[in-house]
């Protein structure tokens, strides 16, 4: 059984991110994933696209963010790519799930930003970041075999 691929491209505009989120959520129903898993994958893609717009493009509209979803029989792979400023590899590695640890009694110590990548790492099975020829891609992988049989053709 082969893989299926769909590519979505949006402008680097926060007003358009929900379109990708909703499309990804619906596409996840092909696998089949539970509603909870589909919602969480939507969240990861939204966080990744937000990062591209806010950090790689510095909120400048008129650039492209490309999202490619590939359904394999045993895994879901989502590439979120931009051609803006690259993230430092060290930052990508440092932003792990420990950033979600907080002390609720110390309100001022609780960050208002920086949770995107830790959330993605907590939900997905693998997260990698590569820059090649000026193109940055964050690749999110979720194993799907535990969820059931892929229903696509």
């Amino acid at each position: 059984m082969g893989s299926k691929r769909v590519k979505l491209v949006i402008d680097s505009d926060l007003e358009q991110v929900f379109l990708v989120g909703m499309a990804i959520n619906k596409l996840c129903s092909l696998i089949p994933l539970s509603d909870t898993d589909s919602d969480q994958i939507e969240l990861c893609v939204v966080e990744a696209v937000n990062n591209c717009i806010e950090h790689a493009y510095g909120n400048e509209k008129g650039q492209e963010v490309e999202i490619t979803l590939t359904l394999h029989p045993d895994r879901l792979v989502i590439d979120v790519c931009d051609t803006g400023k690259s993230m430092e590899q060290e930052l990508v590695e440092r932003k792990d799930v420990s950033a979600l640890e907080i002390d609720p009694s110390e309100l001022n110590s609780i960050a208002e930003t920086g949770r995107g990548l830790p959330i993605i790492k907590m939900i997905m099975d693998s997260v990698t970041y590569k820059t090649e020829s000026g193109r940055n891609c964050l690749t999110l992988l979720k194993n799907t075999s535990v969820f059931g049989v892929y229903k696509g053709g």
Binding site: L14, E15, V17, F18, G21, T36, D39, Q40, E42, L43, V46, E47, N50, I53, E54, L100, E101, I102, P104, L107, N108, I110, A111, E112, T113, R115, G116, I119, M122, I123
Partner: protein
């Protein structure tokens, strides 16, 4: 960001009417909430029953509002469900905000 507000005694109830509290609406949400606080509202119930998606920017805006209220104020949440509630739990924010199922109990908690 569309929101609706009403007073119940000393408590201000703010209901988010949008389906999503995300990076697109986070700044506007923060500004509107700051407006309420500078107008003298320091006990606020945020009704999220209409919201079905929150991202980290939306959560960050809520943390920012809580900080703005400081020791003399409080912001509690009601109506969070499904993926919104899961987001609070995933990020431990359910330990930072007092969470209530219904609006009435949230208002009662702030009226004590």
């Amino acid at each position: 960001m569309e929101i609706e507000d009403k007073k119940d005694g000393n408590v201000l109830i703010v209901k988010i009417l949008n389906k999503r509290l995300d990076a697109q609406g986070a700044t506007d949400f923060k500004e509107k909430m700051s407006g309420y606080i500078s107008s003298g509202s320091h006990s606020i119930v945020l009704n999220m029953s209409e919201v079905d998606f929150v991202d980290s920017s939306g959560l960050g805006a809520m943390v920012s509002v809580l900080k703005l209220l400081g020791d003399g104020g409080n912001l509690v949440i009601c109506g969070a469900r499904g993926s919104v509630m899961r987001m609070f739990k995933l990020t431990r924010m359910n330990k930072v905000f007092s969470m209530f199922e219904g609006q009435r109990e949230a208002v009662a908690a702030l009226s004590k």
